[in-house]
Symmetry: none
Subunit: 199 residues, 2 copies
DNA sequence: GCCCCTCTTAACACCAGGTACTAAAACCAG
DNA sequence: CTGGTTTTAGTACCTGGTGTTAAGAGGGGC
């Protein structure tokens, strides 16, 4: 068995761990034909954490993902609601809502809060978002409290235009115009709705 | 410190571990005021594996589910990506994405898929959504597979216009135009971004 | 009272999969 | 041959457990 140059071994090591993060150093010695100390020095040089740390990192990532996914029913806490007129909801940005790298909230959470509120403010059993026009005005960071205010600007029989502005303190961070449709049959917000702009 | 009945302690133990699987037996002793041996007997009775096994299980589950998407902070599975040109992602509507009453997907999930893809397709370390113009064309139902296709329509130094259309089969269900901004300093999609329409 | 029983705590040996450190051997180049 | 890197070996120690044995604590039954 000939020895590999160190660089090549590093490449292989990184590759092996990448596509099987559950491999132990001892198993790696068999595959790379070097001592366990060499494997460990290599990991050290490459900045690859030990098995348990690797596993833990994966688990934590998936835990966060599962936590943040639910995006269920109404996003944000509705603190005031005058049907067909206006509404206010509060949503606090937690760690499951931000990009871990930058601490900045992911856009769809702000959208979700605004969308949920726009739908809630319409006084109908079944209300669906048809179109939305949104602007992310400035990034929102971990820990900030987003206060979304919705006003119904025009309200027809089937369509309603709702304007939502989201603030952190005095500062507007998000703004959107939603076209909401009432009782278009059997659907409700979300997936969109029957009308969009063809009805 | 009064002792809890065993059954109650078991309930609490299970609960504690469920909503923080990363807790050690030693930490549990502090919370439940019993010895570490008792904690371990309890876990044995309840069939709750040790910390490392719990973590490993989570990691394995997520590894299977996630291994195809290296882009972890993306909603939907990216199956094709040509940076600065186009991208495709697939997202299956599960029960956690729909209104339980109607089985229709909530809008922000479709938005999240499209937004994630629009950001991913931009070849820049930090890309942020500035504005979006979206239409929900028809409701999407439980079990449907949404295929989002993104095309970069124009790509300047700082801004790029990305068009995303989402299909179920042949049918278009969602369409959006995103204005994405590159490297606006230290931020990233999500919360919106510096520019919106004032930069 | 005493015996029995469950529950709880203690103590000790052992394990995997490492880290951290020291030291010796192997290899290679100038 | 000598100096530097690279590799291997060995030891002590760590965490978060398992597995086992044993001893108390706190009843209830009769």
């Amino acid at each position: 068995m000939e020895r590999l140059p160190k660089k090549e071994r590093h490449r292989r090591l990184a590759r092996l761990i990448e596509d099987n993060p559950f491999i132990t150093d001892r198993e790696l010695t068999r595959l790379l034909k070097v001592s366990i100390q060499t494997i460990r020095l290599d990991r050290l040089e490459l900045g690859i954490p030990e098995l348990r740390e690797r596993i833990k990192l994966m688990a934590e990532r998936s835990f966060d993902a599962v936590r943040s996914l639910p995006l269920h029913e109404v996003i944000g806490e509705i603190v005031d609601l005058q049907l067909d007129r206006s509404g206010i909801s509060i949503f606090e940005i937690r760690k499951e809502h931000v990009f871990s790298r930058t601490g900045i909230a992911r856009g769809h959470h702000l959208f979700a809060q605004a969308n949920s509120l726009a739908v809630a403010v319409i006084n109908d059993e079944v209300a669906l978002t048809a179109t939305a026009d949104i602007r992310f005005i400035r990034p929102v960071r971990l820990g900030e409290k987003c206060i979304a205010k919705a006003y119904v600007r025009s309200s027809g029989k089937r369509k309603a235009r709702v304007e939502v502005a989201t603030y952190v303190g005095e500062e507007m961070v998000f703004q959107g115009n939603f076209l909401i449709v009432r009782s278009a049959g059997a659907q409700q917000d979300g997936g969109g709705d029957r009308l969009a702009d063809r009805d």
